[in-house]
């Protein structure tokens, strides 16, 4: 009987790892550029469809395409930033909401036109394997997604702490104007950040493909979860996105089992509200979200 609990906790944490990766992208973009990207979930969707399309086309295993999709989404992020996002930096909230929600709708409809509304699944030789230990069994795909997510989050943390570009991102997060006085090209760093955040979303999408079917509106669930994670962890905090992601994955899995799957979202919203009652800035947040990477 305990095996079931272990199974639940482990798979909840593994799922949470992917949520953490999606949320890290969102929180970085918010931390540096103060943009709430409501299209973030749809960018995960783009990563999923791109993986699906490339897999179908090349007949390669989706895992081999993960780096390609990540780099492609980085480029897509730069493009979006140049064409749209940089124009709403510093704009009123409403403008930002309209622009990013609008972007999400465009992406969803593009996916609908190209791929239709059907659920699409991809087969992976690698993902078919099952890991067995401590009396529990887990799909290898979930495990890979978790390990890659954690590795990427660790790399991002090191990057933010040690590289000059990472330090520039943290500086902008804390004081944009002062950063520009340090001869930091803040608009360029904004673009780079949006590219990196989008790459995180795309990478998460690629890792999700062997686990879940993809359809045009899958981003709606993901963006909701990642906003919950980011606000729970503290806006702008990488550490917060990590802990928040793991927590939401765990809560979702446990409540799905004990209360029923239709109650999962309610369970994490209850926890979410409870945390915000006691810590309005989130678990790791500080007022003004100056904490990116520290």
């Amino acid at each position: 009987m305990t095996a079931i609990y272990i199974q639940l906790v482990v798979s909840g944490l593994l799922l949470g790892g992917i949520y953490a990766l999606v949320s890290v992208g969102l929180t970085m973009i918010f931390g540096v550029s103060r943009i709430k990207n409501f299209a973030h979930g749809d960018l995960v969707m783009v990563g999923m469809y791109l993986t699906y399309a490339l897999t179908t086309w090349t007949q390669l295993d989706p895992y081999l395409l993960v780096p390609v999709v990540t780099v492609a989404l980085f480029g897509f992020g730069l493009l979006l930033s140049f064409a749209l996002i940089r124009r709403i930096q510093g704009a009123p909230q409403v403008a930002q909401i309209f622009a990013t929600v609008g972007l999400g709708l465009v992406l969803q409809n593009a996916a609908l036109m190209i791929f239709g509304a059907d659920f699409r699944t991809t087969n992976s030789e690698i993902a078919g394997n099952v890991l067995r230990f401590w009396g529990i069994s887990l799909p290898l795909s979930l495990f890979i997604a978790f390990v890659v997510s954690m590795a990427v989050i660790a790399c991002l943390t090191v990057f933010l702490r040690t590289s000059m570009v990472g330090k520039a991102m943290r500086a902008i997060a804390q004081d944009r104007r002062a950063a520009s006085l340090m001869s930091i090209d803040v608009k360029f760093i904004d673009m780079l950040t949006f590219g990196l955040g989008t790459a995180c979303a795309g990478l998460a999408g690629a890792l999700l493909v062997p686990l879940y079917p993809v359809y045009p509106t899958i981003g709606a669930n993901l963006v909701l979860i990642s906003f919950v994670v980011v606000i729970l962890g503290g806006l702008g905090s990488i550490e917060g996105a990590l802990i928040g992601g793991l927590a939401i994955g765990l809560i979702e899995t446990l409540s799905g089992f004990f209360i029923g799957s239709e109650m999962r979202q309610m369970a994490y919203f209850l926890v979410f509200i409870a945390v915000l009652l006691f810590r309005p800035a989130g678990l790791f947040g500080q007022r003004g979200s100056e904490t990116l990477g520290s």
Binding site: M164, K167, A168, R170, A171, Q174, D175, R177, A178, A179, S180, L181, M182, S183, I184, D185, V186, Q286, E290, T291, S294
Partner: protein, 233 residues
């Protein structure tokens, strides 16, 4: 070094600087004096390019009035901003490193950190500490050190002694004298008129966004109009 002609500056629609003209020669220390709200910070920010401005600004022989702030700073026109504006959640060392972000300064980070630390040993002791947890005087030292890390040709100081204890005020003016002795060009905004004029070669007075007076520091100190401008009369 710096020549400003007919410079206007705006906060959105509101104009805060009207046709300012002044010049600063290489190696000079020039004070800009004026009452609260006169437009001193506005002038500095217009020169740094962080607010909208129209007019002619030549720095080191080149026009800089259309350039974005990061390019102006990289050209060697650097400010120590009002209220210090340190990166509070980063260490003293990281703040100094960020001061040297431009490519030519970045090549000399290690040397320049040593120089800053020898000029301000307090910063060396605190190098791992978060900038936000420093005392006011130490924060000001950090802000000055950060500006020096950029290897500037000219530094603009915006009220560097604001809110500091008297002993720290003396320390900042000693630093200013050291920097002056090293040959750097300085624009100084200070509430402490006597102290400011004592280190300055020349001074300008701003009143309601207009430059109304200019001259040698030694003569200005006796000018009755200075007092009037300062009291906002």
């Amino acid at each position: 070094m710096l020549k400003i002609e007919a410079l206007d500056a705006y906060y959105g629609e509101a104009q805060a600087l009207y046709a300012a003209s002044l010049h600063i020669d290489e190696g000079e220390v020039v004070s800009v004096l004026g009452a609260n709200g006169a437009g001193k910070t506005t002038l500095i920010n217009a020169l740094s390019g962080t607010i909208d401005r129209v007019g002619t600004v030549s720095f080191d022989g080149q026009r800089v009035d259309r350039l974005p702030p990061h390019v102006i700073a990289a050209r060697g026109l650097v400010q120590v901003p009002e209220g210090r504006r340190l990166f509070n959640f980063m260490s003293v060392r990281e703040n100094l490193e960020l001061g040297a972000y431009s490519p030519h300064a970045r090549a000399h980070v290690a040397d320049n950190i040593d120089k800053v630390f020898s000029l301000m040993p307090r910063l060396a002791e605190r190098s791992g500490q978060m900038a936000g947890s420093l005392s006011g005087g130490e924060q000001q030292m950090c802000a000055i050190g950060r500006a020096m890390m950029a290897m500037p040709k000219m530094i603009m100081f915006d009220e560097p002694t604001l809110g500091l204890a008297p002993i720290m005020v003396d320390m900042v003016f000693k630093l200013l004298n050291d920097i002056k002795a090293s040959g750097l060009t300085i624009l100084l905004v200070e509430q402490n008129v006597k102290h400011a004029l004592a280190v300055s070669d020349r001074a300008y007075v701003i009143e309601n966004g207009r430059v109304v007076l200019g001259g040698d520091a030694a003569e200005l100190i006796h000018d009755p109009q200075l007092k009037v401008a300062y009291l906002g009369g």
